[in-house]
Symmetry: C2
DNA sequence: ACCTGAACACCGTTCAAGT
DNA sequence: ACCTGAACACCGTTCAAGT
């Protein structure tokens, strides 16, 4: 049982790989195979064809090797998925669009991190499912840890008392991951991004279907059918974040006017 | 592409199945095969051996048939998983422990629904992953719809103005699903429930590992290491719900004293 | 140390054939 | 209408053998 494995994301063999790249040789195809290069290629494949089509055979094809070569560097498929997810999340968090002149302070930083993740998922639809998988089968693995740290720091800066840091940050992170999961609206494996027209049509069909549900079983769903057809995922996500932030400041930040939040920058 | 399939969860063949059970015959093993019986057996298998071990071969073994029989009734594996998830969620929502004498009103109802789902996941560890999967690959499928309806009704009763019903309910549902995902702490496939001692040891190891992280990279995680070791998942979940509820009442419910919530029953 | 590639033990799904 | 069971086209992973 590899339950509770915690952070041991490296293959048993293959640790150091600071070896110099075999200098000239041929340019593209004949590079040395490294763990990094495998992860990069995995991300490429995930972006292009989706999670279901990322197979070790597809990898060996693109890298011009055999399965044994992959498994020398990588351990297994789950580890590769985790590494790919962590890599994409890391760059998404690091390269967030600089908030216009520190706007919003700590609350603005939280919004920025959250929207950074949201946008990363829009760009890499497979990411939503992988974030969920990581959260579930490795609840405190590198991916979750990274997100917690990014949200936790501004939570602290917000003035939340230390005793509430963990609960508060958890609530934010859990909301973010839940919301981004539903919003990915891909085919689940995250293959094609899905056009804007597709999405409009989808919402239209869904909304119509909702209005024809049994009024006894689904009165509420029927009542929000129209609202849901018109909603914008990203805007709704922002609202959700602000809702949770309001809860935090109201409940935990003393001296704050309840319900008052630093104005979100209209970026 | 079966994207945006929406609610068409039935196999193309096999609709009616109100046929009388072939009366006497032998008792257990020689029942007629129905979609319902397959779903029931799937839930049994999921509970006993986890999601990874639910295969059509395992099903045919327990049901004493061949794969063709399964596929006559069921369509494909994804559909079976969805049906199993929906069945468990439906009974979890229907059989919630009656809140002690209506305590808490609408807010209490929301807590009750949320905790009902939480407890269902504790009982069926595979459920966490499946809820996530449903949310991602079928964002408005029967499972999500059912949960939305259950949360939306008390949201309405809370006094939230109609224009905010959708956003408010979404925020709650997304938090619930994100939180329950991390809390499942199984092996991901949701096989063994995991003992209390296992869990304590896991938290201990994780907490220690956190304290040895790089102070430059993970200052926040290091700071909450102790707090996380002592936390109780269910209690934390309650706090998260209350945090979101506070945000809702503060922001959307006029006439409510901000930060004041109906006292949660100490059940 | 790093890589090759055949082979193994599995999957989900299909489909002609039976009743 | 419902079921059988062999067969198909895939998986991830292993491992003796090469360099």
């Amino acid at each position: 049982m590899e339950r509770y494995s915690m952070l041991d994301q490296c293959s048993n063999r293959a640790k150091m790989s600071g070896m110099a790249i075999r200098t000239r040789q041929s340019q593209r195809r004949r590079q040395v195979l490294t763990r990094e290069r495998i992860v990069e290629t995995a991300v490429e494949l995930l972006d292009e064809v989706g999670a279901d089509a990322l197979t070790v055979r597809a990898l060996t094809g693109r890298l011009a090797t055999g399965p044994g070569a992959i498994y020398w560097h990588i351990g297994n498929m789950d580890e590769l998925l985790e590494a790919a997810t962590d890599a994409v999340v890391a760059t998404a968090l690091a390269t967030r669009p600089a908030q216009p002149a520190e706007a919003g302070g700590a609350a603005g930083e939280i919004r920025s991190v959250a929207l950074g993740l949201f946008d990363a998922i829009t760009e890499h639809p497979w990411l939503a499912a992988q974030l969920a998988v990581q959260l579930i089968r490795n609840p405190w693995g590198p991916v979750t840890l990274r997100i917690f740290e990014s949200i936790g720091r501004p939570v602290r800066a917000l003035g939340v008392p230390q005793g509430d840091w963990f609960t508060t940050t958890s609530t934010l992170v859990h909301y973010i991951l839940g919301a981004t999961a539903q919003t990915s609206h891909g085919s689940g494996d995250g293959s094609v991004p899905g056009s804007e027209a597709d999405r409009a049509e989808f919402l239209d069909t869904a909304s119509r279907a909702w209005q024809e549900l049994d009024p006894d079983d689904y009165p509420f769903i029927r009542a929000i059918a129209e609202q849901m057809r018109e909603h914008d995922d990203r805007e709704q996500f922002r609202s959700g974040i602000d809702l949770v932030l309001t809860g935090i400041t109201t409940l935990h930040v003393k001296g704050s006017a309840p319900g008052r939040l630093p104005r979100p920058s209209t970026a």
